[in-house]
C-alpha cells in the first residue's frame, strides 16, 4: 500500500523532502490545472526541498476560455514557488486535444541528451491534476531515461469530487507510445480501470468491441466513500453479459500494477490486451507500468467533450507518496 499522509502528518514530517535527502532532485514536474489541488504538493514541500529543474506542464487550451483565470493563477503561483526551490523553471505547453503536441512538448523537456544522457536522474512528479493521457506520456518519457525507483509520484486525493467530472466524448485513441501489438487471429480483451465516468467507459467498450471486458472497481479506493460511487456508476456497464469484474487497489501504484499483472496474466500472449485506465492517477500509473513491461498491451483513452472546470474536486484530503517499481524490481525485492 502506498504511504498515505494527512496534511498534518506531512507538516509534522517537516514537509516533502527531496528523494535523496542529501542532494536535490533533478526534476520536479508539476501540472497547473483549474483544480485548487494543483497547488497542494508545492505547498507541502519542505523548506529544504530543492530540485535542479522545475517543470510545469499546462494544457494550452486551458490558458484561455472558462478555465483561463484559474489555470493562469495556479501557474503563476507554482512558478513563484518553484523559482525559490529550483535552479531553472520551465513551462511545458502541452495539449489535451492534440496528442502530437502533448507528446512532442513533453519529450522536448524530458528527454535527456548529450552529457546528461548516461547520468542517473531523480524526479518527483505531482500526478494529481494531469489529464491521464499526458500523465502516462510524461512518466513513460521519464522511464525511458530513469530507473523506476528514481521516479517518485505524489498524489493528493480530494475531500470530494463534483457531481460530474467530464461530459461528452470527442474520440477514442491509443495513448502515444502505447499502441501495442494486435494480432488479427487473436480475440481482444479490454480491461477497464473504472472511475466515475460510466459514459466514457461505455464509449470505450463500444468503440473497441472487445470479445470480453474485464471491469475493474477501485477497492480499496483512495477514500472509502469513493468505492460506493464507483460501484453505482459502473452498474450499467456491469450488467452486460460479456463483462467480468475484478477489484484493484486504486490507492497504490505498485499494488495495483501487481493486481493487474495477476488479472491479465491468463490473456497476455493469447489475446490482444487493451487497458483503459479511468480511475485514480495512481492506478493510471499502474496501467502504464504493466503496459511498459508488456509492449503488446495497448493503453486506450477516451478524450472527453469537456471537463467540469467549475467543480471537478473539492479540497485536499491525503497525500500519497510512492516510488515506481517494475515487475523486475518487484521480483528482485522479493
Amino acid at each position: 500500500m502506498t504511504p498515505k499522509f494527512s496534511s498534518e502528518e506531512i507538516d509534522m514530517m517537516g514537509g516533502i523532502k527531496s528523494i535523496h535527502p542529501q542532494s536535490p532532485d533533478d526534476i520536479i514536474l508539476l501540472c497547473a490545472s483549474y483544480e485548487p489541488r494543483s497547488l497542494a504538493t508545492t505547498q507541502a514541500l519542505a523548506p529544504s526541498y530543492r530540485a535542479k529543474r522545475g517543470l510545469i506542464y499546462v494544457n494550452r487550451e486551458f490558458l484561455s476560455g472558462p478555465a483561463g483565470p484559474m489555470v493562469n493563477r495556479n501557474l503563476e503561483i507554482l512558478q513563484g514557488t518553484l523559482t525559490n526551490k529550483c535552479d531553472l523553471v520551465e513551462i511545458i505547453q502541452g495539449s489535451w486535444l492534440d496528442p502530437k503536441i502533448q507528446l512532442t512538448e513533453l519529450r522536448h523537456y524530458l528527454q535527456k541528451t548529450g552529457d546528461t544522457a548516461s547520468s542517473k536522474r531523480r524526479t518527483t512528479i505531482d500526478i494529481t491534476t494531469f489529464n491521464r493521457e499526458a500523465l502516462i506520456v510524461a512518466v513513460a518519457l521519464l522511464l525511458e531515461n530513469s530507473s523506476p525507483g528514481d521516479i517518485r509520484a505524489v498524489y493528493v486525493s480530494p475531500q470530494d469530487h463534483g457531481a460530474w467530472l467530464s461530459r461528452g466524448f470527442r474520440l477514442v485513441r491509443n495513448v502515444m507510445g502505447f499502441a501495442g501489438t494486435q494480432q488479427p487471429s487473436k480475440n481482444t480483451i479490454l480491461a477497464v480501470l473504472s472511475g466515475f465516468e460510466p459514459e466514457r467507459t461505455a464509449k470505450i467498450i463500444e468503440e473497441h468491441e472487445p470479445s470480453k471486458v474485464l471491469l475493474g472497481l477501485g477497492d480499496p479506493p483512495t477514500d472509502t466513500k469513493f468505492l460506493e460511487r464507483n460501484r453505482l456508476e459502473q452498474h450499467l456497464v456491469l450488467a452486460r453479459q460479456e463483462v467480468a469484474d475484478f477489484c484493484f487497489p486504486a490507492d497504490s501504484i505498485n499494488d495495483c500494477a501487481h493486481c493487474l499483472r495477476e488479472v491479465l496474466f491468463p490473456y497476455i500472449g493469447k489475446s490482444n490486451v487493451i487497458i483503459a485506465p479511468m480511475s485514480t492517477k495512481l492506478s493510471t500509473l499502474a496501467a502504464l507500468l504493466v503496459a511498459y513491461e508488456n509492449p503488446d498491451i495497448q493503453l486506450t483513452y477516451c478524450v472527453p467533450g469537456e471537463y467540469n472546470i467549475e467543480d471537478y474536486s473539492r479540497g485536499s484530503k491525503a497525500f500519497f507518496l510512492e516510488s515506481l517499481s517494475t515487475y523486475e524490481t518487484e521480483c528482485k525485492g522479493e
Binding site: 507528446l103 525511458e144 491509443n174 507510445g177 499502441a179 477497492d219 509492449p295
Partner: protein, 627 residues
C-alpha cells in the same frame, strides 16, 4: 433503447479480489442482436436473410463499397460471404468451390486501435504511407493465410504446392529486410512441416516490429531506424493474390477481400485502399469494403487522383431499401422475424400474428374507411375511391381518437415496420424489449404466441421518446461543447416540424393531412446546413432528392424518421407531398416552434404535384411520394 440493464438485468457486485467474475447469460430472446463475430457459421447462415440486401451486387467481380449505419447488417453480410458460411449453404466448402459463381471471401475486420494508431501522426508523410501500407498488407496476408488454413478443405492442396507458395511469399519481401523475422519464425515453427502456420508467425513478428518502431519513435523521438521489411501493392499484395490463385485446387477462384468497418482506418490507410481500388485488378482480387458513409474520409488515391463510381467501384447502400421500396423492406423484415421465431422454436412463427395490431382500433379504422368511402360518393366521386380513402381515412382516425381522448395505438407488425424507418436494428430492438417485457410479466418464453398490443405500445412509445430525449443526450456527448448549440437547434427543429405535422393531421379541414417531409427553397446558411446534416447523420431525417419543377437539377428532400411518430402522434403509414420552407422560416423553426407553427399554418396548403405522387400502391400500404 435496449440498455445493458434491460439485457442482462442488474447484478450485485460481489467480487472483492483481483480474480475476475463472469456474468451469466440470460434466456434466449428471438429478437436478440449478437455481434456476427460471436456467431458460428451455421448461426450466421440461419440468421442472415439474403433477400433484398443487394447481395448479388456484392457478389459480382467488382470492387464494391457497402455503405451502412452501425448495426445495419454490413458485418453480417461480409461474414456470410466467408467460405465456412458458403460451405454451410452449399453442403460443404468443396462443393461451393466447384460452383461457377464461386469466390473466396477473406474477412478482414478493421478494429479500433488495431490499425489507426495515434503514432502515425508523428511520422513524415512518406514514412507514414510506407509503414501504413505494410501494416495493412501483413494484416490482409495473415487473414488470407488463416482462411486457407482454417476454412478450406486441406485435401484441395497438391503435395508440395503449399511449400512452393510459402517460398514465393517470402520472396516477395526484400531478402535482407525479412531475414531476421524469418529466422525468428523458424525458431518457433518448422517451415517445411507447417508452412502456413510459419507464414502467420512471420507476419506476427513483422507486426510486432512495426509496433516497436512506432513506440520507439514516439518515446525516443526521431532518428529511429525501422528494422522490419516493407511491402507495397505491386510488389507484395498483388503478387500474393496471384500466388494464391496458383493453387490448382482453387481453380482460379476470385478472391474477395472483405474489409469490414473501413471507417476505422485512418485517412492515409483509406487513401492506400483507394489506390488499390483505382488499379482495377478485379480479375485477380476484389475489395468489398463496408463503412459508415460519413466516416469514410477520402476518395483520393496516393497520386492525388480520385476513385469514382461506377468506373472504379460499385456501391450498395444497406440502409436505402426502405426509401427505395417500402414493400420490399416490409417483406425483408417479415422474413427476418419469421426466421428468428422459427430458430427459437416459438409456437407461433408468423410475423403478423406474433405482433398483432390493437383489435378495437382496427375495428374503428374499418368503420372510418367505410364512412370515408361514402363521403367520396357525396363529394362527387373525385378520382379513384381507393385513393380517396387512402388519403383521408387514416387522418380521420387520428382526428376521432383525439376527439375521444384515446391514445393512438402503434401496435401491429406493419406499424412497427414503418416506425423502424428502414433500420432493421430499430425494428429488432423494440421487439427484443417487448419479448423481454412479456417474460418479466411472468410468461414462459417458449410459450409466448404473440406480444399483446398493450405491451407493444408501452415499449414503442418509450422507444420513440428515447429517440427524442435520450439519444439527443448521446449525440451531445459525442460532440465537443462548441457544437452543442447545433444539437439544441436540431431538437427544436424536430419539435417545430412535429407540432406542425400534428396540427395538419388533426385538422379535419386539412386536404393534405399526412405531411411528413420538407424541402428548403433557397440557399441556407452554412450553420443551418450543419444542423440539417447532423439530423441526417443521426437519422432524424432520411435524405432523398427530387427533380425541381423548374428543371435543371435535383434538390434535397428531408423525410422525418418515423420512429418519432408516437412522440408527435403522427401517422407512420405514409405521407403525401412535402412542405416547402424558406431559409427564413427554417431559421424560425430552429429557434421557436410556436412561432414557426403559427407562421407556417397561415400559408396555403401545397398540394402534391402529380409527378411527385406516382405510388399509391395499395390501401394502407406504401403511398410515399418518393422519387
Amino acid at each position: 433503447m435496449v440498455t445493458p440493464e434491460d439485457r442482462g438485468g442488474s447484478k450485485q457486485l460481489m467480487n472483492t479480489s483481483c480474480q475476475e467474475t463472469a456474468n451469466t447469460p440470460s434466456f434466449l430472446n428471438p429478437f436478440a442482436v449478437e455481434s456476427p463475430e460471436k456467431l458460428t457459421p451455421k448461426q450466421i447462415v440461419d440468421l442472415f436473410v439474403p433477400q433484398f440486401t443487394q447481395l448479388e451486387t456484392v457478389k459480382q467481380r467488382r470492387h464494391t463499397l457497402i455503405w451502412g449505419t452501425r448495426g445495419s447488417g454490413k458485418s453480417m453480410m461480409l461474414k456470410y460471404l466467408e467460405p465456412r458460411c458458403q460451405g454451410v449453404i452449399h453442403g460443404g466448402v468443396a462443393r461451393f468451390l466447384d460452383l461457377d459463381d464461386r469466390f473466396m471471401g477473406v474477412y478482414c475486420p478493421c478494429k479500433e486501435g488495431h490499425l489507426n494508431k495515434s503514432e502515425f501522426s508523428l511520422l513524415d508523410p512518406y514514412a507514414a504511407l510506407v509503414v501504413n501500407e505494410h501494416m495493412l498488407n501483413i494484416r490482409i496476408a495473415d487473414r488470407l493465410i488463416s482462411c486457407l488454413r482454417e476454412q478450406l478443405p486441406q485435401d484441395i492442396f497438391i503435395p508440395g504446392e503449399i511449400e512452393a507458395f510459402g517460398r514465393e511469399v517470402v520472396r516477395l519481401f526484400d531478402r535482407v529486410a525479412i531475414a531476421s523475422s524469418a529466422e525468428e519464425a523458424s525458431q518457433s515453427i518448422d517451415f517445411k512441416t507447417n508452412v502456413l502456420n510459419w507464414l502467420q508467425v512471420l507476419f506476427a513478428i513483422e507486426n510486432r516490429k512495426l509496433s516497436s518502431f512506432l513506440k520507439a519513435n514516439a518515446l525516443q523521438g526521431g532518428n529511429i531506424g525501422y528494422e522490419g521489411a516493407t511491402s507495397g501493392y505491386h510488389d507484395f499484395l498483388l503478387p500474393l493474390m496471384r500466388a494464391t490463385l496458383s493453387f490448382k485446387g482453387l481453380k482460379e477462384i476470385p478472391i474477395y477481400l472483405l474489409l469490414d468497418d473501413a471507417d476505422k482506418l485512418n485517412k492515409e490507410q483509406q487513401t492506400i485502399v483507394n489506390t488499390w481500388i483505382a488499379n482495377r485488378d478485379q480479375k485477380i482480387f476484389c475489395l468489398k469494403i463496408s463503412t459508415q458513409r460519413e466516416a469514410y474520409k477520402t476518395f483520393k488515391t496516393r497520386d492525388g487522383g480520385r476513385i469514382e463510381q461506377p468506373h472504379d467501384y460499385s456501391q450498395v447502400d444497406v440502409d436505402g431499401l426502405y426509401t427505395q421500396s417500402r414493400s420490399d423492406y416490409s417483406q425483408k423484415i417479415k422474413l427476418i422475424v419469421e426466421k428468428r421465431l422459427q430458430l427459437s422454436a416459438m409456437p407461433n412463427r408468423e410475423a403478423e400474428s406474433f405482433l398483432p395490431p390493437d383489435g378495437n382500433e382496427e375495428q374503428l379504422f374499418n368503420q372510418v374507411k367505410a364512412e370515408t368511402a361514402e363521403q367520396w360518393k357525396k363529394d362527387g366521386e373525385p378520382g379513384r375511391q381507393r385513393d380517396y380513402v387512402y388519403r383521408y381515412a387514416s387522418a380521420r382516425l387520428f382526428q376521432l381518437l383525439r376527439e375521444a381522448r384515446r391514445r393512438k395505438s402503434y401496435a401491429g407488425f406493419q406499424n412497427l415496420v414503418h416506425l423502424s424507418s428502414g433500420v432493421i436494428r430499430d425494428f429488432l430492438e423494440p421487439c427484443y424489449l417487448m419479448f423481454d417485457a412479456c417474460v418479466a410479466k411472468g410468461d414462459e418464453p417458449k410459450d409466448i404466441t404473440h406480444i399483446p398490443p398493450a405491451i407493444q405500445n408501452e415499449i414503442i412509445y418509450k422507444y420513440s421518446e428515447d429517440f427524442l430525449l435520450v439519444l439527443f443526450e448521446d449525440i451531445r456527448k459525442d460532440l465537443p461543447p462548441e457544437k452543442w448549440t447545433q444539437v439544441e437547434e436540431l431538437r427544436t427543429l424536430l419539435e417545430s416540424l412535429g407540432r406542425l405535422f400534428y396540427n395538419r393531421l388533426h385538422d379535419p379541414k386539412s386536404r393534405e393531412a399526412r405531411l411528413f417531409s420538407f424541402t428548403v427553397r433557397g440557399r441556407v446558411s452554412a450553420e443551418m446546413e450543419d444542423v440539417l446534416n447532423m439530423g441526417v447523420r443521426n437519422r432524424y431525417f432520411l435524405l432523398r432528392t427530387y427533380s425541381t419543377k423548374e428543371g435543371g437539377g435535383r434538390e434535397k428532400w428531408y423525410i422525418l424518421n418515423r420512429r418519432l411518430c408516437p412522440m408527435f402522434k403522427l401517422d407512420p403509414t405514409g405521407f403525401e407531398g412535402r412542405i416547402s420552407l424558406t431559409p427564413k422560416l427554417l431559421a424560425v423553426a430552429l429557434k421557436n416552434p410556436d412561432e414557426f407553427v403559427k407562421m407556417r399554418l397561415k400559408q396555403p396548403e401545397e398540394l402534391p404535384q402529380p409527378e411527385e405522387l406516382p405510388l399509391f400502391e395499395k390501401e394502407g400500404g406504401t403511398g410515399d411520394a418518393e422519387i
